[in-house]
């Protein structure tokens, strides 16, 4: 990769151990986050995108466990860090914002008290200096009359305001990487646009890298520079955002895009992806998307493809793009997108 990368996740595996069974929520995830850029991780519910994010900060609670892989942050493998070292990274160099702004703030403390927490933990700021910085942060995230807001409790704020406060808390110590776990899912569309805009502005201002976890391809198109598409605990496609939307490679990505309404073509009906996500304990041995894939061959059902480089900064986990492809050779030539619209 030509650019400087701030975070490299290699073959990350996180499992949950329930009643003697191992459920592989994240199964060999690999992606890079270039410095100062936004990486989107998309996938449907249960694809392991949130678990991947929590694994980066090692916030996986028992019965979950990171069972393997590497998380290289600026060259150091975070998985080798002990608890104390990890605590110094969290909120300081890597911050996280969560999906539910309504419940992500502690109801018994004022906004100011909560903003001071990170400053106290990492910077040792006392009450007065902390409050000054808290007011500054609230101003930064665009909260009007910040000085009176610091004395308010979370229940006095709206959802959008709370998410801004969450962002302010996450930014308190100028992190280099911000992990945003569906930051706008619980907000309505206008507020969503404002929050995304805010994140972009802050990213430019602080040269921060962002991992944006979402199931909303619209959010990806708007905010991300690179995209990793996840399916059943694995990355199936990694590309820069323009390539992904113009020329999606993996049949799953194609399916996702086909299931969205488009303004540039006349569509009678939207194209759903048929079937359902396999249950974690009955994962197919071959490609995980094979049971739902319109192009699947015996090879797909039997063997799991690797995540292969197929171009500049483009990786895909699909047999179609390998020499071993034994299905319809036309698929390879014309690529899946044209076929899905024609075939069905």
């Amino acid at each position: 990769m030509s650019q400087e990368t701030i975070l490299e996740v290699n073959d990350l595996r996180t499992s949950f151990f329930v009643e003697g069974n191992e459920v592989k929520a994240v199964d060999g995830v690999t992606f890079d986050v270039p410095k100062g850029k936004t990486l989107g991780i998309v996938g449907e519910s249960g694809s392991g995108k949130s678990i991947s994010a929590l694994s980066i900060l090692q916030l996986i609670d028992s019965p979950g466990k990171i069972v393997g892989g590497e998380i290289n942050f600026k060259g150091d493998n975070l998985l080798k860090y002990n608890d104390n070292q990890m605590r110094k990274i969290r909120g300081n160099q890597i911050s996280m914002i969560f999906q539910e702004p309504m419940t992500s703030l502690n109801p018994v403390y004022t906004v100011g008290q909560q903003l001071r927490e990170a400053l106290k933990i990492h910077r040792g700021l006392g009450k007065e200096a902390g409050t000054e910085k808290a007011v500054e942060l609230l101003e930064l995230v665009g909260i009007p009359s910040p000085r009176s807001r610091v004395t308010q409790y979370p229940f006095e704020l709206s959802g959008g305001m709370r998410q801004r406060v969450m962002i302010a808390m996450a930014l308190a110590c100028d992190p280099e990487l911000l992990v945003a776990d569906e930051p706008t899912t619980a907000l309505d569309v206008t507020i969503q646009a404002q929050i995304l805009e805010l994140l972009k502005e802050l990213q430019d201002e602080f040269d921060m890298s962002i991992i944006m976890i979402t199931h909303d391809l619209g959010v990806v198109a708007e905010t991300c520079d690179y995209v990793a598409v996840m399916y059943c605990g694995k990355v199936v496609e990694y590309a820069d955002v323009n390539t992904l939307f113009k020329n999606p490679r993996h049949p799953y990505t194609v399916g996702l895009l086909n299931s969205l309404p488009r303004s540039d073509v006349d569509q009678e009906e939207l194209e759903p992806i048929h079937g359902t996500v396999p249950a974690p304990h009955e994962m197919p041995v071959g490609c995980r998307f094979a049971p739902r894939c319109p192009f699947a061959t015996d090879l797909c059902h039997e063997k799991l493809p690797d995540l292969e480089d197929i171009g500049d900064e483009e990786q895909v986990r699909c047999w179609i793009y390998t020499d071993e492809w034994d299905g319809d050779p036309e698929v390879k030539v014309y690529e899946p997108e044209a076929r899905t619209t024609k075939d069905q």
């Binding site: 969290r90 969560f98 403390y109 009176s148």
Partner: protein, 298 residues
């Protein structure tokens, strides 16, 4: 930006301090529950009396007046005198301090031990939880008064030891309630959020989880004070707690027991005193539970 701050300043006084607002809100809801309010004021009056009462009385609780023993209630001796001619009213007022003291102190000690135990069990879970909760189960397996009796027999009979015994019996109740609430609270998103900010376990547990799980404890504590007072009085009645001539109500009840037929007032007044205090704490505790329950908010 400074403009904004100047604009913001005048709006500030209008915003009521949320703590004051919450307290007012709480009182408003408590007021709706008349028995609870009566209980609250009874406790308040009793506490005030127990502090200033002894100074207002000219008589000493241990002064004997042999000529006037077994005297019934009169203008001179409001509640009469006991078998040694001691003024029962004076003894009840002096005893109030002991009774309330044992109640508050034992519940405070029990909570101080039970809360950390419960929160640690709930937060860490797994083996730590299993070991702690089995220990708690063992404590719970003993009937309260029996456990207290056993502890007092080991430590020796005195009011301090009674307080300790009642406190030990209070531990399981607090630990269980806190553990339950902690199990729910530790999975809330704000706990993850504060963890993601780099907070350590101690900070998460005591600063962020504890205040959110305290309200059921407050209710339990109020109700438990009543139980503690009753248990302590019971132990003194059995001669294990207060030693003569301490004017403890349970001990006074025991003194009066032998003269029930001829001078019932000796047992009646301390008995009534215990009933009133326990009732006051019970109905106040019930009212508190309703008032602190956010579902009851109207």
């Amino acid at each position: 930006m400074s403009n904004q701050q100047v604009e913001a300043a005048p709006t500030q006084p209008k915003v009521e301090n949320p703590r004051v607002k919450a307290a007012k809100d709480f009182y408003r809801r408590l007021k709706k529950n008349v028995p609870a309010l009566i209980g609250f004021y009874t406790i308040l009056i009793l506490v005030i009396f127990s502090i200033i009462g002894p100074w207002m009385l000219s008589t000493d609780p241990s002064d004997t007046d042999v000529i006037n023993k077994f005297a019934g209630p009169s203008a001179e001796h409001w509640f009469g005198t006991d078998h040694l001619g001691r003024d029962i009213f004076t003894r009840i007022i002096h005893g109030m301090k002991l009774t309330l003291g044992i109640g508050f102190a034992s519940v405070f000690m029990g909570a101080a031990m039970g809360i950390p135990i419960g929160i640690i069990a709930g937060y860490y879970g797994g083996k730590i939880d299993a070991v702690i909760m089995r220990f708690i189960d063992i404590l719970l397996a003993f009937p309260g008064i029996l456990l207290a009796l056993a502890i007092v027999s080991i430590l020796g009979g005195s009011l301090v030891n009674v307080t300790i015994a009642v406190a030990i019996y209070a531990i399981p109740g607090f630990a269980r309630i806190i553990r339950g609430s902690t199990l729910a609270a530790k999975n809330l998103e704000y706990v993850d959020a504060i963890k993601a900010l780099g907070a350590g376990d101690g900070r998460i547990i005591f600063k962020h989880i504890l205040p959110n799980v305290l309200s059921p404890v407050i209710v339990n504590a109020t109700l438990y004070i009543a139980t503690a007072i009753l248990t302590a009085a019971g132990l003194s009645f059995l001669g294990m707690g207060a030693q003569p001539p301490q004017p403890e109500w349970g001990a006074m009840l025991n003194d009066g027991r032998s003269y029930m037929r001829d001078a019932g007032h000796i047992a009646f007044f301390p008995g009534m005193a215990i009933v009133i205090v326990v009732l006051a704490f019970n109905i106040f505790g019930d009212g508190l539970r309703d008032a602190l329950d956010p579902k009851m908010k109207k």
